[in-house]
Every structure is written in structure tokens, then in C-alpha cells.
């Protein structure tokens, strides 16, 4: 290294090697010391032989130099003191738990459908509950894995012990990724300042997270910050940032949403603002109700709705986020689509009050009014999804004529339903789905479960597993493509107690349907793996508890 620096007398040798002796003649090296003498002597040896050729002398001199450089290298000296990680107080996880973590992390590299981050999150949850930590050599891997998954950050912090903060101090990239938790020790003012700074300077995703965090902490500050920059934002940033206002949405947001966001040139931005405004008792909601009142009336004599379609999409409707060519349902005409959009933005409770009808009655009349029943039903489903009104939700679920999976509005409602209500809906229908007859209802079970990503309750998990166990024994079980392609995902959503029942699923080599067998195996393997993780922490906890007992 030092021998070949520009100031070194030997640097010329390297230069000659790069350029070649044809272009740069080999000069005699004039350097003192043993090395200089040795290199100098090389050109004098064998003066009568072919080896006196300059290229031969050069390679020999370079060889000497190379050995001298390797043998005489000097170490670099560091003077800075290393900061030591504080001693860990938590116990390490057991070998068994750790082996299971390694197994899950390996799934990540395989591109598995299992979405390992969900399993990692579960592993970390058990680890945090057991008040244990991952061995220090695994901490960087977890920090790297969770860098962009903010949901994992608190769990990683809990499970990495003192090494978490220590490594964050040493790694700028991790520090900025995990900074939300890095602020935990700071006071609110400092926190707000740093979030504001991030929003003003960072990339879009970080800005969104900063705005979201600020919104949770100080909704007015977040609104002020967004208002200040809104006009300069790109169209997609505006939509993303407006979504952040859903947290802590209130009347204080109305001026901004009404006067700024709803006036935007882009219809997508206006629609997003409208969807926020209709959730608060705003001027917008009043306008929309007044508009809807023009188009929907009730004839109490013949117990029918009287529908008047909007003649045209005027500027005020357009400004209020009603879109000209929105694709709601191909069976709806243009004007019916406008009507459907308007009615979707009005809570059903308004009609209940205005017409003195129950939610159930409104739905029955809507589905019965032949000409506009589709538009009205879709609007009611949209409204039920948006305003979270239990009466109309329950009425729709009980209505045998409505299939939630037939329309986007139905799916929207399905996803908006409280999980307990969805579970009840499925459990009620479960016996009828297992009927192997022509009268059996359409098998929507697996589709429902595919569409809604939620953690199944213990009772629900057990009932579904019992259903699967029973169906496995049937000649024509009610499995299908949707089940086959989601088996592992279902296994991830199940309650951990599924591990107690999973053994009862009869999977054997005689099962002729390979797709079914594979799906059941995947589901079974995933549940077993999760259960094993759970057991590994449970047994370890028992061991440590009993050890503690002995010590006492």
C-alpha cells in the first residue's frame, strides 16, 4: 500500500507495468534500504541472458515489491472509543423458538405465499409476551426485515433488547426507518417538530407516515401542515395525504376539505375529499341530503319509492365529487349511476327518519321497486359500508335476495362489516353450505373468507375447522379453487387454537384430488408451524417459571 503511493520511489514501477515497457522505458530504481537495493540488483543479474530484457526485469521487480508490500504492511491505528451496548436483562429465546424463527425467515427468501412478515409478527408477539429476546446476532436481520414494515417496529423493539437502540445509534438507515419509535423518549414538542421536518423534506411514503403520526398526536397541527403544502402537492400525493385525515376526522377539518380539497381540478381528489366530508355533519353532507331528497321519495299509499333521475350532471354535482362515467354496475344507465352515487353518500338513518321506516323495510321496498331496485340496493350497500350503520348492515345480511359477492358494492360492505358480524353471517350459513343438494345455496364461504383479511376468533376458527374436517369425510366435499388457492392464507388467519384440531383433518395418500390434498397439506403445515411456535414459547415460559419457583 504505502510502497505504491505516488510519493514512493516504487510507484514508477506500477506505472510502467500499466503502460508497458514499450511505451514507458524501465528506469533504474534509486531507493535506499534493503528493498531498494534488492530491486536495483535485479536489473544487474544475468546480464548475458534473455532475462535481462526489460519486461523480465520489470516483472521480477514487481514480484519483489509485491512480497515486500504484503510482508511489511502496517496496521491502521484507530483512536476512537467504541460505545458498548448496555447489558441485556431479558432472557434469550429457546433454541427451539429460534429454530422456528429461522424457518420462517427462510420462507421470506423463497417468495412463499405465506407472507412471512405476518408469521414473523406472530413469532415476535409470542416472544414479547414471554418477555424474551432474540439472540444479538439475529437483531440486524430483524431490523433489516422490518425496516419498511412499520407494524413490526414496536415488536422488534421489544424483542431485540438493548441491542435495538444501540444498533440504531450506529446505523443511519435503520435510525431513519425506526425513527417513529426513536422519538419515544422525546417530549411532544420535539416529536411534532421532527415529524413536521420529515413531512417537509422526506420521500412520499415517509411523508405519509409522518403525517399519519402527527395526525394521531396533534390533528390540528397535521391539518395545518397539509393545508400549507396542499396546492403544491402532486395529484397522487394529495389523494394519499387526504386519506391520512381519516384519523381523528372532525368538523375542524371541514373548511379545508370543503374550500380547498373539494375545489381541486382533479375529480379523484374531489371524490376523496367528498368521501371524508360525508362522514362528518358538514355543509357538504347537508347539500348531498338536500340533493338526494329531490330524487328519492316515498309513496306511503302503495308503499313504493318514487325515483326521479337527475337530468344532468351540473357543475355543483361535479364539484361535490359526483363522477360522470363511474363504473358501478354495467346494468345501470348513466343517470342511474349519478343517482346511485348521490344516494350512496347519504346515511340510511336519514331515510329511516324521513319516511318513518325501519332499515329492513327500506331495504325490502328498495329491492321490490322493480325499475330502480338495482340502483337503490347498490346505493344502500354503499351507504351501509360507508356509514357503519348496524341496522341496514344487518338487514342486508338477512336479505336472501342479495348476494354480497355479486357486486363491488357488496364486496365493499363485506369488507366494512364488523368482524363479529361477518363471522356470525358465515356461521349461520355454514350448515346450508354443506348440504350436497341442488337446493344448497351458492358456495360463497371461501370467497367471503378470501375477500376479508382479519384474524379469526377462536370460536369461528373451531367451527370452520370442524366444517373442513367434516367435509374431508364427504364424498363430494365443498372445496373449490378459491379454497385451494387460499388454504395457507386461511391457516394464517385462524386462531392459534386451530393447532389442537388440525390433526383431525384426514389427509391421506389415497386422496385422489391432488389439488385438495395439496391445499389441505399446506393449510395443515402452516397451522402446525404456528402452533409449534406458540408451544415453544409456552413450554419455555413454563420451564423458566418453574426454574424461578425452584430458586425461590
Amino acid at each position: 500500500m504505502a510502497l505504491q503511493t505516488k510519493n514512493s520511489p516504487f510507484y514508477e514501477l506500477t506505472e510502467t507495468a500499466i503502460l508497458g515497457t514499450d511505451r514507458k522505458p524501465l528506469n533504474r530504481i534509486l531507493a535506499s534500504g534493503d528493498l531498494g537495493q534488492t530491486i536495483s540488483d535485479l536489473s544487474l543479474q544475468d546480464s548475458t541472458s534473455i532475462s535481462q530484457a526489460p519486461e523480465r526485469v520489470l516483472i521480477d521487480q514487481l514480484t519483489t515489491l509485491s512480497i515486500a508490500r504484503k510482508a511489511g504492511s502496517h496496521p491502521k491505528v484507530f483512536s476512537a472509543e467504541m460505545i458498548v451496548c448496555p447489558a441485556e436483562t431479558q432472557a434469550k429465546v429457546s433454541e427451539r423458538s429460534l429454530a422456528l424463527l429461522v424457518q420462517i425467515l427462510a420462507l421470506e427468501t423463497k417468495g412463499s405465499e405465506l407472507r412471512p412478515s405476518k408469521m414473523v409478527a406472530e413469532w415476535l408477539t409470542f416472544c414479547a409476551e414471554a418477555e424474551q429476546r432474540v439472540p444479538e446476532e439475529f437483531v440486524p436481520r430483524l431490523l433489516g426485515l422490518g425496516k419498511n414494515i412499520s407494524e413490526l417496529h414496536p415488536l422488534i423493539e421489544k424483542c431485540c433488547g438493548e441491542h435495538f437502540a444501540w444498533l440504531l445509534d450506529l446505523n443511519q438507515e435503520w435510525r431513519s426507518s425506526y425513527k417513529k419509535h426513536d422519538y419515544s423518549n422525546q417530549d411532544t414538542t420535539q416529536h411534532i417538530e421532527r415529524l413536521t421536518n420529515t413531512f417537509e423534506t422526506a420521500e412520499q411514503k415517509e411523508r405519509y407516515l409522518a403525517l399519519l403520526a402527527l395526525r394521531e398526536m396533534a390533528p390540528a397541527e397535521a391539518l395545518k401542515l397539509l393545508s400549507a403544502s396542499f396546492e403544491r402537492e402532486s395529484f397522487d400525493s394529495k389523494i394519499v395525504f387526504l386519506k391520512a385525515l381519516s384519523t381523528g376526522l372532525g368538523l375542524h377539518d371541514e373548511p379545508f376539505l370543503e374550500d380547498v380539497a373539494l375545489q381541486d381540478r382533479r375529480k379523484e381528489v374531489r371524490t376523496q375529499a367528498a368521501s371524508q366530508l360525508c362522514l362528518i355533519p358538514s355543509r357538504y353532507r347537508e347539500r348531498m341530503i338536500a340533493r338526494a331528497d329531490q330524487y328519492l321519495n316515498y309513496n306511503s299509499k302503495n308503499k313504493q319509492f318514487v325515483v326521479t333521475l337527475p337530468e344532468k350532471l351540473d357543475d355543483s354535482m361535479s364539484r361535490d365529487g359526483i363522477v360522470d362515467n363511474l363504473s358501478i354496475d354495467s346494468r345501470l344507465g348513466q343517470k342511474a349511476t349519478w343517482l346511485c352515487q348521490i344516494l350512496s353518500l347519504v346515511p340510511t338513518s336519514h331515510w329511516q327518519k324521513k319516511f318513518s321506516l325501519s332499515a329492513k323495510e327500506i331495504l325490502r321496498i328498495a329491492t321490490a321497486s322493480s325499475e330502480w331496485s338495482l340502483a337503490l340496493t347498490l346505493a344502500l350497500m354503499n351507504s351501509a359500508a360507508k356509514f357503519d350503520e348496524v341496522d341496514i348492515q344487518q338487514a342486508i345480511l338477512e336479505c336472501s335476495e342479495i348476494h354480497l359477492t355479486d357486486s363491488q358494492s357488496g364486496l365493499l360492505l363485506l369488507k366494512a362489516l364488523p368482524h363479529a358480524m361477518l363471522e356470525n353471517l358465515i356461521l349461520q350459513k355454514l350448515p346450508s353450505w354443506s348440504r350436497a343438494s341442488e337446493q344448497a345455496p351458492r358456495l360463497d364461504l371461501w370467497y367471503y373468507l378470501e375477500q376479508v383479511d382479519f384474524n379469526w376468533s377462536e370460536h369461528f376458527t373451531r367451527e370452520i375447522l370442524k366444517f373442513i374436517i367434516k367435509e374431508c369425510r364427504e364424498k363430494v366435499p365443498v372445496f373449490g379453487h378459491t379454497f385451494y388457492s387460499n388454504a395457507s392464507i386461511f391457516a394464517l388467519r385462524m386462531h392459534i387454537s386451530a393447532g389442537e384440531l388440525i390433526e383431525q383433518i384426514a389427509i391421506n395418500s389415497e386422496m385422489t384430488d391432488v389439488y385438495r390434498r395439496n391445499a389441505l397439506e399446506r393449510m395443515s403445515d402452516t397451522v402446525k408451524l404456528r402452533y409449534e411456535i406458540f408451544q415453544s414459547f409456552k413450554s419455555n415460559k413454563q420451564v423458566s417459571t418453574s426454574t424461578k419457583g425452584t430458586k425461590q
Binding site: G20, T63, R69, V84, L100
Partner: protein, 449 residues
């Protein structure tokens, strides 16, 4: 009782990543029945796709495995899963007498070990004749090598005349064809060094110095070969080994090589592929002797390596060293694992001592490729320029050749405190292979160069 190997150690034995994954997936108690163990072995039956379950057994002293499944991989996924299951939850394995299919296998393994290949007795005339033939073959090869080296000498001379700056534009074949000519000249060791020149040039920066070093090494070996008769027998052996002459393993094992018995820690291990041949480098460290032999393993495709060693484990046994002025490579004559011994061996205590030891090694074998360094009491750190170092108690530092992930893993493992680090030193950087602290061993991923 559970197996003394950790899950990571067991997975080191997997022939490839898919076998490791499949092994992990199968390591679930519900997939197994009739699990059992005794002092020497573990066994179990795993239900596969066939009607009969696969019978899987492992001899823990090796370790060695056998399974009735038709997989060509070794160890198969069932073998790995059995060991993983035992490592994770040994309570599942009932202490009992092994069934016949286990005891028969153990007996046959024992018999194989004891079996000695009977030497076919040769008459003195036959012996003389075979020695003459051998000498002639060696002489013929030396002549071919000499011709190859003379050609290589001209090639290097051309490079020096035209300048190494011109080779950056040369295609890979420029070096490959030169290496192929050396293979034809029966000098595979030199051929490998020439091939490495192409890899050096492919690097984006700092290739000139590295290329000069490599050409210097090649030149040194060539010059030494041309003066072979003037060298000592050890140095002669070194030169021939560097060129690619193999020392007969049979001869070494039958007394030609120095045999050392010790408790050996597998202190570093990594593998790479060279011309479709998988090569595994196992660095061992003698607890009592302080020797650090290199045991090479070779395998084609997914076949298992001929030597099965688990990093971080001690083996008691005899190693036979290849001849040379700085005996480094060794053969395993006998081994028996000692998983209960915590991984600790003493090594070099300072950077200055390490560099001094390297310089004296270079004096003995100037074309030395890499040497093992076991550095004690060093702290890993990341400098402000982003490079990784280890620093000793005197604040002297050595640069590390390490992947970013591995650097952080090492740093986290140390917690800012000192640890023991083992790696290969090539004269400019240390490639870390493992770290040890408080009786624990951590294998480190190596960087591909």
C-alpha cells in the same frame, strides 16, 4: 436428551437450500412416528407419499445418515428433519433399544470402519517396475509443465511490454484460453491462478494492484519451478503443489505425512464452485497443538462432500499434513465428534503479532495464498468511510472483507465488546468466517470475490 447439534449446524449439512427448506418443513412432530434414540443414534419413521413410511436413522458420532427414501440428495430432507426435530425437541425421542433396521446399519458402519483394504502383495520386480513407470510419468509431466511455464513466461513478458492497462478491454476468453493451455500442460494450479486474473479485472476498481500481485505470484512459482533442483525437499513440495501436483493421499496416510492427534475445532467453513466442482474449505484449529490445518472437501452436483464437518464443533482425531515448508492442508485419518466441548481455542492476541506471523510465513512460502488468523480480544467496527475493521487492544486494526449484512451481524454479536474472530488473511484483507464469544460460536457468511 436432545441432540447436541444446533439447528444451524444441522442445516449446514444440507446439500442445497431446497433440501434445507424441505427438511425444515418436515421437522414437525406430527409427521413422524416411532421416534427413538440411544447413546449413539436417533431414528424415526416419516410418512411420505408412498404407502410405507420412510425409515430414517442418524449416527450422531459422525454424524452420518441413512434413509429408505429414494432421494439422491444426501443427507435427504428426512434425515435433516429427523436431526432438526431432535435438536428442537429431544423429549419426543424415546430412549430405547434400536429396531433391527437401525442396529444393522450401525453394525455395518462399525464393520466398514474396521475393514482394512488388504494390500495386494507385489514382488520386488513388480515394485521396481511400477516405481520406474511412476518416475517416467512424473518426468513426462515435468517436461510438459516446463513447456507450459516457458509459454506462460512469454505471455507475462508480453503483458509487461504492452502494459497491463490494455487487458481491461480483453474478453474473458483471453485468460480462459491461457488457463486452458496450462491445464493441457498439466499445471492446473497455475491455470487457476491465471483464471483468477480474469476475475480480478472484472472488478470495477483497484484491479491494477491486485493483478500485479497475482502476476507476481505466478511469476514467483514459475521462477521457482525453473530452479526446482536447487530447492529443499519441503520447498520443492510447495512449488509442485502450487503448480497442481497432487500428493498421494494413500502415501500420506501410510506414513509419508506428519500425523497429529488433537482435539480439533472446525473454526471456519465455506464452499464455492470451481469448474462445476463444489469445493469446501474447512479450517480446523488444534486445541492443544495450535495447528490450523485446512481440510478440503470436494463434490459434484448435489452429491455430499466427502468430508462431513460441522462448523463450531470439536472433533477428536488424527490429521495427516501434506508435505511442505509450511504444512497447511491436511487429511482426516480418524475423527469422532465431541459436541459437548464449548468452542474455544486460543489464537493470536494482537494485530502486530498476526502480521509478524504472516511475514514469517511469507518468508517460508512467498507465493502463499491465504493464511488463517484466529484473532483474540478484537472488536469489530465500522469506520466513517463505511469500511469494516477489527481493532485489537492496542488500537491496531485490520481491514475486513465482509458483506454489509455480515458486518452488522458481527458488530451486533460483539455488542461493542471484544470477541475472537477467525478468518483468512490474504495480505490485504481478512475474510471473517466465524466469531466466538462466551463459549458460543457464530458462523459468518462469506463474501463472494
Amino acid at each position: 436428551m436432545s441432540i447436541a447439534y444446533t439447528a444451524e449446524q444441522i442445516l449446514e449439512l444440507a446439500p442445497d437450500s431446497s433440501a434445507a427448506k424441505a427438511g425444515r418443513d418436515l421437522a414437525i412432530a406430527s409427521k413422524w412416528k416411532n421416534l427413538g434414540q440411544n447413546e449413539q443414534s436417533i431414528w424415526g419413521e416419516c410418512q411420505g407419499s408412498g404407502a410405507k413410511p420412510y425409515q430414517t436413522r442418524a449416527d450422531l458420532t459422525g454424524p452420518a445418515f441413512k434413509c429408505s427414501c429414494p432421494s439422491r440428495k444426501f443427507p435427504c430432507k428426512h434425515s435433516l428433519a429427523l436431526a432438526l426435530l431432535c435438536s428442537a425437541n429431544g423429549a419426543l425421542f424415546e430412549e430405547k433399544e434400536p429396531p433391527a433396521w437401525v442396529s444393522e446399519w450401525l453394525t455395518s458402519r462399525g464393520a466398514k470402519k474396521k475393514k482394512e483394504t488388504p494390500e495386494v502383495e507385489k514382488s520386488p520386480e513388480q515394485l521396481e517396475e511400477s516405481q520406474l513407470a511412476k518416475d517416467k510419468r512424473k518426468q513426462d509431466r515435468l517436461s510438459r509443465v516446463q513447456a507450459g511455464i516457458e509459454e506462460l513466461d512469454l505471455f507475462i513478458g508480453d503483458l509487461m511490454r504492452q502494459g497491463i492497462g490494455t487487458v481491461k478491454k480483453q474478453p474473458f476468453a483471453f485468460w480462459k484460453s491461457r488457463a486452458a493451455r496450462l491445464v493441457d500442460a498439466q499445471a492446473p494450479g497455475l491455470a487457476r491462478l491465471v483464471s483468477e486474473c480474469a476475475e480480478i479485472i472484472a472488478r470495477s476498481s483497484d484491479w491494477e494492484d491486485a493483478l500485479i500481485d497475482k502476476l507476481a505470484t505466478i511469476n514467483l512459482i514459475c521462477r521457482a519451478f525453473l530452479k526446482l533442483d536447487e530447492l529443499s525437499s519441503e520447498l520443492k513440495a510447495d512449488v509442485l503443489t502450487a503448480i497442481g501436483f497432487n500428493q498421494s493421499q494413500e502415501e500420506l496416510l501410510s506414513g509419508a505425512g506428519t500425523c497429529i492427534e488433537d482435539l480439533w475445532l472446525v473454526v471456519g467453513q465455506y464452499s464455492y464452485t470451481q469448474d462445476r466442482l463444489r469445493v469446501q474449505r474447512n479450517w480446523l484449529w488444534g486445541k492443544n497443538s495450535g495447528h490450523s490445518p485446512l481440510v478440503l472437501g470436494f463434490a459434484h452436483g448435489t452429491a455430499p462432500f466427502d468430508t462431513m464437518l460441522i462448523p463450531g464443533l470439536f472433533y477428536r482425531g488424527e490429521l495427516v499434513f501434506y508435505q511442505g515448508s509450511l504444512p497447511q492442508r491436511a487429511l482426516i485419518k480418524s475423527k469422532c465428534s465431541e459436541p459437548a466441548v464449548p468452542p474455544f481455542v486460543s489464537g493470536l492476541t494482537s494485530v502486530a503479532e498476526a502480521l509478524g506471523s504472516y511475514a514469517s510465513d511469507l518468508a517460508k512460502t512467498p507465493w502463499l495464498d491465504t493464511v488463517p488468523f484466529l484473532m483474540q480480544e478484537v472488536i469489530p467496527l465500522k469506520a466513517t468511510d463505511g469500511k469494516w475493521w477489527i481493532v485489537d487492544q492496542a488500537k491496531n486494526a485490520l481491514p475486513l472483507l465482509v458483506k454489509e449484512d455480515t458486518g452488522w451481524q458481527l458488530l451486533s454479536y460483539s455488542g461493542g465488546l471484544s470477541l475472537s474472530l477467525f478468518g483468512e488473511w490474504d495480505g490485504t484483507t481478512l475474510k471473517p468466517l466465524s466469531a466466538m464469544r462466551d463459549g458460543n460460536y457464530l458462523r459468518l457468511q462469506t463474501v463472494e470475490v
